[in-house]
């Protein structure tokens, strides 16, 4: 049930930061609302203390997508539909477009926002794996200061991030990557339309003469939170792409996932299948 609320709509970022400054546990930022409002309906404990919602809708910098030197800046309240329609994002960060195109329905994508997707840090947040391989940085502000942190560090554990109650994610900063990178995103759901992810994978790769010069790998849904596999990445850099390598690196990814998750009821399905789907993803990237 939705509680009696105070709903505020500041027009300036500083006013928003003032409103959340007391960090009273009862105040929460409302962007798209696609988690919080159904969360009220199911009486989710994560939202039970909320009595005041502060909307981001009127704050211009939270809705912009813009180019700045070698970066693209995405306002934290940019919706998935806006990302999909953005030429900048399509040009420089195609995996992000591919991932968010598969989130929910049109209705959800018209409301749900990029920061909203990861500040809740649900394991199945589909925008996270591409943001991780693009080394996304998160700009966080409170009333007094602004700080930047890598998304990879920002995400701590399921439903927990570095974000404090007095803070707000203002922008996401993506450095444009070298044009010689290729990549792909994969999502497995139980159904074709509007499905919650069972497995997501994002990989970008740079190769020269069939040698891996750089590779970045991230998963979602299958691990407790979206995560990078840096050990495996480092292991692959400098290796020649061979059929054996595709198999062995898929097996290693499987081991890494199992190390992170431990044996769960779903492991007998998810661990083998992430190896197979990663293998197919590497085929797409390495062999074309």
């Amino acid at each position: 049930m939705i509680p009696e609320l105070k709903i505020l709509r500041p027009e300036k970022l500083i006013d928003l930061l003032d409103l959340i400054a007391p960090a009273d546990g009862a105040t929460r930022i409302l962007a798209g609302g696609t988690d919080i409002i159904p969360g009220f309906h199911i009486n989710s404990k994560r939202f039970s203390s909320i009595r005041k919602l502060v909307e981001t809708v009127k704050i211009p910098e939270m809705h912009e997508i813009k180019e700045e030197d070698d970066s693209v800046i995405i306002g934290s309240s940019v919706t998935f539909s806006e990302l999909i329609n953005s030429e900048l994002i399509n040009t420089y960060f195609p995996l992000l477009v591919k991932a968010v195109s598969k989130i929910g329905s049109v209705q959800i994508r018209n409301r749900a926002t990029i920061a909203g997707n990861f500040v809740n840090n649900a394991p199945c947040a589909d925008s996270v794996p591409p943001l991780l391989v693009y080394n996304a940085e998160v700009e966080i502000a409170n009333k007094n200061s602004t700080r930047k942190v890598l998304l990879n560090d920002f995400l701590e554990k399921p439903y927990k991030t570095q974000l404090k109650d007095s803070e707000c994610v203002v922008r996401i900063i993506l450095k444009k990557i070298d044009k010689t990178f290729t990549g792909d995103f994969y999502k497995l759901g139980r159904r074709r339309g509007v499905a919650i992810s069972r497995i997501t994978l994002a990989v970008i790769l740079k190769k020269e003469n069939n040698i891996i010069k750089d590779i970045r790998i991230a998963s979602g849904a299958v691990t407790p939170i979206g995560m990078r596999f840096t050990e495996l990445e480092n292991d692959l850099i400098g290796k020649e792409i061979t059929p054996e390598l595709l198999v062995s690196s898929s097996q290693k990814l499987g081991k890494n996932v199992l190390d992170v998750t431990g044996l769960r009821w779903s492991s007998v399905y998810k661990v083998p299948v992430i190896q197979r789907t990663f293998y197919n993803l590497l085929e797409n990237i390495c062999l074309d």
């Binding site: 139980r190 081991k255 007998v268 399905y269 083998p272």
Partner: protein, 797 residues
């Protein structure tokens, strides 16, 4: 069969539905769209238990709360405290025991639902948990907890069927194959959750308006619960947002609760369910465990079948006795088999109760019998078509219940032939099969989580295509389940406009449109001259429920009867007026009535006005009663249904063997539903039914833990979306029959029952692996099991 009129003017054409305009403009009124002055809202009181003794309930902390208008429980019920179609085992409010998590102990009513929810948890209920029974295969064990101790057993019903001699049948068979199949609980998933309002009337009667599938059934239950006469209860059906068999028992009980509260408070009381309430309390499709033992010869002839079926009835009997009766009649499928021994049992558990759902006891055995037919073919080196041609029921064949199929055209092999030609079945089946031979390497062991090199499958090999078919016969209407008759009011007004009303209620499928077409065809008028009246139990006789795909057949017959009586009265009047021979024939078409030879004609409207001036009654309640059927309970023999329909589905799929995903590329659905009245509506039935059938095959499952449902909303309970089934081809062959309106028979349920069997066979064709347990979800395909903390009873491996 010569009674069937041949040159139809309207029948068979695409006709826009009668209630269409209100539905595309948002004006259609569904149950939750009705509001009444002074209305009260309600919330249900439940406990978190699947099986418990209620020890005490303390309402004292809310009794004086200003938000509470009344607390309603079993003590407020003046009449029957328990209800049920066969066994009166389901309490309106539980007083002693709770037997499944959906059970309701009391209901609080007040002005604001929001305020009621806030105070609901203050009520103190003491209860003692009892041992929980969730596995139907254990229900009949001697130490099983009794769900309803008064019946002294958890057996709801047992139907035997005995034909020929199975012992000698098996010993004379060259081959025997035995397999076990299981199917799951599924949800109707009508998009409109349940809602009803009861409005007390000044004359002490009660009026109820709601999302009610069968208004006359609801009237009977409400009258019994209130202890008043049928005529004191008026049920009005709101526009119904889908039902599929699902808004029957649940709505009877909700209507009764609302009525009790309305009488107690003297105010209108509304019950409006959330999706979670709906999934928690409403009944589901029965999970079945089915053992099949089949004796057959190298020629492909099946001689003997022994079948044992256990259906999980859940906590209440509901429609289980009817659902499982259809199973015992149809368990051997559309095949002529000399020796049959079938036992079908439905049992109680603490699971959510199961009842009527589109298909009604046939989708489960069709999945089993069509799987085993393909497996027998495979073992004999035949293809799926050959084995079925040998065994299929043909004209004058005798069914497993001993009924000779002689009074209608038996189109089973024609339906199959049409489907296989349309799809190029045999060539595809052979090609795909050759690709899938010896390639079950994709199956995961479930033990070695890190894959060996040979378990990796390249992207170009991961999609496997397959094609599969299934065929069925289906008994039309209720059969020996009950009295089969229906009423129809056709009231022609002096200006030629027409009112219609039937005792059978619109469920959204387009029944009113079908009836309008039947009346318009006979009276020779356009359907836009017809107004269909609000469904109201006080205006029309009980016509039995809108179930069993009987509405077109039975209601169509009744409308034909009423319309023909009116046609006859107008004809007699005009023949007299025009001084023509009493036997002369008049043509009713294009809003004119003509006598060709004498070149005499009159506009329909004028004829009606003339009839009115002459005191001729043009308002008629027509009646259609199905022919008698017979049934011997002891041996399951008799003429179970007075006629049958036939169909064939072909499914074409791709299976991603890396992940276990199944993609439905195409379903080709061939149905003989007799004469098609409205082609648009008929196609809609096929598309919708096949889609539901595909959902049953691949995605849908209500999974339970200790009786508690895990999938409480559409984020977890996955029904097909617009992206999940690529293409559906609907083909009708119109077999000849005398019954109903020109032999228009059943279609709604046949469209659903065949799909899962066809998909399962297509998946086998694609992968080389046979699956025995629905749904064919990701884990089932790769691991041959469902992943859940507590494994359920399963079929062959």
């Amino acid at each position: 069969m010569e009674k069937n009129k041949k040159n139809f003017k309207i029948v068979g054409k695409p006709i826009v539905r009668q209630d269409g305009v209100t539905k595309v403009t948002g004006k259609a009124k569904f149950a939750a769209d009705y509001n009444f002055p002074n209305e009260l809202q309600s919330v249900m009181l439940r406990i978190h238990s699947s099986h418990a003794l209620i020890k005490s309930i303390d309402f004292s902390c809310i009794e004086n709360d200003s938000n509470v208008a009344a607390i309603i429980d079993h003590r407020d019920i003046p009449g029957d405290k328990k209800v049920g179609v066969i066994k009166k085992d389901q309490p309106i409010f539980c007083s002693e025991k709770v037997v499944t998590p959906g059970d309701v102990i009391a209901m609080i009513v007040g002005k604001s639902e929001r305020e009621l929810i806030k105070i609901k948890d203050k009520i103190k209920i003491e209860y003692e948990d009892l041992p929980v029974l969730t596995d139907p295969s254990k229900s009949l064990e001697t130490d099983a907890p009794l769900i309803h101790p008064e019946y002294k057993s958890n057996l709801i019903v047992h139907y035997p069927l005995r034909k020929g001699n199975v012992d000698s049948g098996f010993s004379n068979s060259e081959h025997i194959l035995e397999q076990t199949y299981t199917t799951q609980n599924i949800e109707h998933a009508y998009i409109e959750p349940e809602c009803v309002t009861a409005i007390p009337q000044i004359d002490n009667s009660i009026k109820i308006i709601g999302s009610i599938q069968n208004p006359h059934t609801t009237r009977r239950i409400v009258a019994a619960v209130l202890g008043i006469s049928l005529s004191q209860v008026v049920i009005i059906q709101a526009d119904l947002g889908g039902s599929f068999g699902g808004k029957d028992d649940t709505m009877n009980i909700l209507s009764a609760r609302a009525a009790v509260a309305a009488i107690k408070t003297g105010r209108p009381v509304k019950i409006k369910y959330s999706r979670e309430d709906s999934i928690l309390e409403s009944y589901k499709r029965h999970p079945y465990v089915m053992h099949y033992k089949v004796g057959y010869n190298s020629s492909g002839k099946i001689t003997t079948m022994k079948i044992d079926v256990t259906a999980d009835g859940g906590a209440y009997a509901s429609m289980s006795p009817f659902v499982t009766w259809r199973t015992v009649v149809q368990a051997t499928g559309p095949y002529e088999i000399e020796n049959v021994w079938t036992d079908v049992k439905a049992v109680y558990t603490n699971n959510p109760y199961t009842g009527a759902m589109r298909g009604f006891g046939s989708p489960q055995p069709i999945f089993a019998q069509e799987s085993i037919m393909d497996e027998i073919a495979e073992r004999l080196g035949m293809n799926p078509v050959e084995i079925r041609e040998i065994n299929a029921l043909k004209q004058n064949s005798v069914t497993s219940t001993g009924q000779r199929l002689e009074n209608h055209e038996v189109t089973l092999t024609k339906a199959m032939k049409t489907a296989i030609e349309k799809t190029g079945f045999v060539d595809k089946w052979n090609n795909y099969r050759n690709q899938s031979l010896d390639k079950s390497n994709f199956i995961l062991s479930g033990e070695d989580l890190i894959l060996s090199e040979d378990k990796f499958i390249s992207r170009q090999d991961k999609l496997r295509r397959g094609i599969g078919l299934s065929i069925s016969l289906r008994g039309c209407s209720l059969g020996a389940e009950g009295i089969d008759a229906a009423a129809a009011l056709v009231a022609v007004q002096p200006d030629g406009s027409v009112y219609l009303l039937s005792g059978l209620a619109e469920n959204g499928q387009g029944l009113r449109t079908t009836y309008s077409i039947v009346a318009a065809e006979i009276l020779g008028i356009a359907t836009d001259k017809i107004i269909y009246l609000e469904q109201d139990t006080s205006r029309i006789p009980d016509s039995g429920p809108t179930v069993a795909s009987r509405a077109t057949l039975m209601g169509g017959g009744a409308f034909r009867n009423a319309s023909e009586i009116i046609q006859k009265r107008i004809t007699n009047l005009l023949l007299n007026e025009w001084q023509l021979d009493k036997e002369a024939e008049l043509i009713f078409e294009d809003s004119m009535i003509k006598h060709i030879a004498s070149n005499k004609s009159i506009e329909f409207t004028e004829a009606c006005s003339f009839a009115s001036q002459r005191g001729i009654n043009l308002s008629v309640v027509g009646w259609y009663k199905g022919p008698d059927v017979s049934w011997d309970e002891e041996i399951g023999q008799g003429s179970a249904y007075f006629t049958y329909v036939y169909g064939c589905h072909v499914a074409e799929v791709s299976v991603n063997i890396n992940t276990g995903e199944i993609y439905i590329n195409k379903i080709t659905a061939v149905h003989d539903a007799g004469k098609i009245i409205n082609i648009l509506g008929a196609q809609g039935q096929v598309y919708g039914g096949s889609t539901q059938g595909a959902g049953y095959a691949v995605w849908e499952e209500i999974d339970k833990h200790n009786g508690f449902i895990r999938e409480m909303n559409f984020d977890q309970y996955l029904i097909p979306t617009s992206k999940d089934i690529k293409s559906i081809d609907a083909i009708f062959i119109e077999g000849e029959d005398d019954y109903g309106a020109w032999g228009a028979k059943s279609l709604g349920e046949p469209t659903l029952e065949l799909t899962a069997g066809a998909i399962a066979n297509a998946v086998k064709n694609a992968t080389g692996k046979r699956y025995f347990n629905l749904p064919l979800n990701l884990e089932e395909i790769l691991l041959n099991r469902k992943l859940r903390p507590e494994d359920m009873k399963r079929g062959s491996e």
